[in-house]
């Protein structure tokens, strides 16, 4: 059955997303060197996961094939980014 989630949970997720946005904006003023982009992207990934899991109902999908589609999508994106970057980064090694 289609899972109906409470409005309360949606407001909680919204509040978390707003807090994380404020946090990442504030942290951009702190110079952490090479860690700065890592922190910004980790926060973005937490926010993105909240959106996909709760707002997009990925956590509540009952059709297994749909879960496979979603996981495959992000898996291929990882291949695209990771494999290409291993090429660029190792070009100067020779």
């Amino acid at each position: 059955m289609e899972k109906v989630i409470s409005a309360k949970l949606y407001f909680t997720v919204w509040a978390a997303l707003m807090c994380l946005t404020a946090a990442t904006a504030a942290l951009s003023y702190v110079n952490m060197g090479a860690l700065s982009p890592v922190v910004a992207l980790v926060i973005a990934t937490v926010k993105g996961s909240l959106v996909v899991l709760f707002f997009m109902h990925a956590k509540y999908i009952d059709v297994k094939t749909t879960v496979l589609v979603i996981v495959a999508g992000f898996f291929w994106l990882t291949i695209l980014l990771l494999m290409t970057m291993t090429d660029y980064i190792t070009r100067a090694w020779s």
Binding site: Y10, A25, M56, V69, W76
Partner: protein, 222 residues
């Protein structure tokens, strides 16, 4: 389930599905397959951003100094709020509350338009500062050629994102119209659910564009 909604549910069930549940599952999966192609579409641009940032790091730092941090941050908040109202519209129709659904869809459209207005102001600012790539592009600092490349990717990525916001406004408006015409109920609302998926996906893209363009190296040059 009331008699009228049962009749509507039967009416909305396409003949090649066993029941409403199967139809809903198939509809949702179809939307996700489409969204995966969208991930690949934006993925290529994120890949280009990453490769160029790696090769021309200094130019990337320079370029990100010229982003409007406050418009970017406010727009992030605006999109997150629009995602909340969108998901509340889906919840309202799941509960069969048509009136509330229409209100939430209308608020979502307002947030989306606010985003577009702010984005337009930002583009206008860049245009006046000669930061739009092309013959009028002018940059006084170091490595202007690759700073221009940063702006190419900025305009292409945010431009395609803005196009998706516009399409989203069109879809949500269509849902509002159909809902007012009484097309949806607690038993049948797949189009609203799928429009929601599309809208949250647009939000998801912005969640990554925001740190990559506005935050990384904005306040400090290493």
């Amino acid at each position: 389930m009331s008699d009228s909604s049962e009749a509507l549910a039967t009416h909305e069930l396409r003949h090649h599905f066993e029941n409403m549940e199967q139809q809903r599952g198939a509809s949702s999966m179809g939307m996700w397959v489409f969204l995966v192609t969208e991930i690949m579409f934006f993925g290529g641009m994120f890949m280009a951003y990453l490769a160029y940032r790696y090769e021309y790091f200094v130019a990337w730092q320079e370029g990100s100094q010229h982003m409007n941090f406050w418009i970017g941050t406010v727009n992030t908040a605006v999109l997150i709020c629009s995602s909340l109202t969108m998901v509340l519209a889906v919840l309202a129709i799941q509960q069969g509350r048509r009136r509330l659904t229409s209100v939430m869809l209308a608020v979502t459209i307002c947030f989306a338009m606010a985003f577009m207005v702010l984005k337009g102001m930002e583009y206008h600012e860049h245009w006046l500062a000669h930061e739009f790539p092309g013959s009028a592009f002018h940059f006084a600092g170091i490595d202007p050629r690759h700073v221009e490349m940063f702006f190419v990717l900025y305009f292409v990525m945010t431009g395609f994102h803005a196009l998706h916001v516009l399409i989203g406004i069109g879809l949500v408006s269509t849902m509002l119209y159909m809902n007012e015409r009484g097309h949806f109920s607690a038993d049948y609302h797949n189009p609203i659910e799928n429009t929601g998926l599309y809208w949250h996906f647009v939000d998801l893209i912005w969640i990554y564009l925001y740190p990559l363009l506005y935050l990384i190296g904005h306040h400090h040059v290493s």
